[in-house]
Subunit: 154 residues, 3 copies
């Protein structure tokens, strides 16, 4: 865990603004994960800023999110083949920290489950995602930085 | 997926009002699913409008929610018998789209798990629920339309 | 279930203030469960009021939360040994009821899963937590009372 998120015992004091940011961040993840699970790579890329950086446990180092799309799509397809069916993400346990520049430091858990054709869902693994979200001029949020950690690989 | 929810890449711009609606919708589902899992059919019916329409994968076509209650109760009881214990719903991944008439188009995932007596919980399936929620005069929300989709039956 | 939470069919009418409280309560649980799963007992104790009371299915009766810490830590360590790896909590299905004195009656579900080294996550059980949260002078929330119920032990 980063010091930024765990070093302070105090979560930010409550306010209407925090509620708005928290709802928007929850909405962002529900939206982005549905796009990811639908393999809509173009819309998915659109949820990252142009120069977004991505750090994944399956990649040797940080990479530009848009350049990493091909890698992401290939890894996802291989996972679905191995799982014998569709893969889905379930996001929760969201922590949101507003930053002075208006961006958000977030951390959430993403449960990844497979649904083989004709069978029940099976949890494959749980990731922790640490993002920096920035608000675009249109008012929507995009990820400027994402670091994905898998606890079971730690 | 409906065009309304996936056709636009942009989620609604953030605002305090969106936060209020998002919190109320989350609260509605936590409340309604607890009622459902407690088999409190009268309170459950009360979470739908009088003329609400229900589309379930276990039904041949759309039906009035209040008329479908008997079906729902029977299917639920059969499922609990097969599962050998209690069934519970866990709702998440909520998408909320305010509509011009003040109602809400929502989509969420509902994970259904069984807890057999003496055993650990087992995930049975994951549904996607697409609802239209309307606000009643008392200020509470009710479902006016619900379409339940099971990904593994698609 | 307590009469307070289930006796009324009507959830509280929506408002900006409810949204703020709901977001803060969600944030409180995401924060507190991460602290618990990281075995940071000092920070964890800090999420309870000085005189908080804890009722756990593994304890013979209600106890002061701070005094129960040792018990909690020992039970947690024994569980991790049995599970052969880390244990994590996933909180959801949150119900929040503001009370006249400014405190919150909450109920949520906590899914507890184990991740054995080298294996995938396995759901162990699901608890229901019924809390009273109070706001401290600093603006943060703390639990003044927690009752944990396990459905599968009922």
């Amino acid at each position: 865990m980063t010091a930024e998120l765990t070093g302070t015992a105090e979560p930010p004091s409550g306010s209407l603004e925090f509620a708005a940011l928290y709802a928007e961040a929850q909405h962002f993840y529900a939206h982005q994960m549905r796009i990811l699970d639908a393999h809509d790579t173009e819309s998915w890329a659109d949820t990252f800023t142009e120069d977004a950086v991505l750090e994944l446990p399956t990649m040797p180092g940080p990479a530009r999110a848009h350049a990493a799309l091909t890698h992401y799509v290939r890894v996802g397809a291989a996972r679905r083949r191995r799982a014998g069916g569709r893969l889905d993400h379930w996001v929760g346990m969201l922590d949101v920290r507003p930053r002075a520049d208006g961006s958000l430091s977030t951390r959430c858990s993403a449960l990844v489950y497979a649904t083989p054709s004709g069978g029940g869902p099976k949890i494959l693994y749980v990731c922790v995602m640490e993002d920096v979200l920035v608000r675009t001029r249109g008012g929507t949020w995009r990820a400027a930085h994402r670091r994905v950690v898998r606890d079971d690989l730690a």
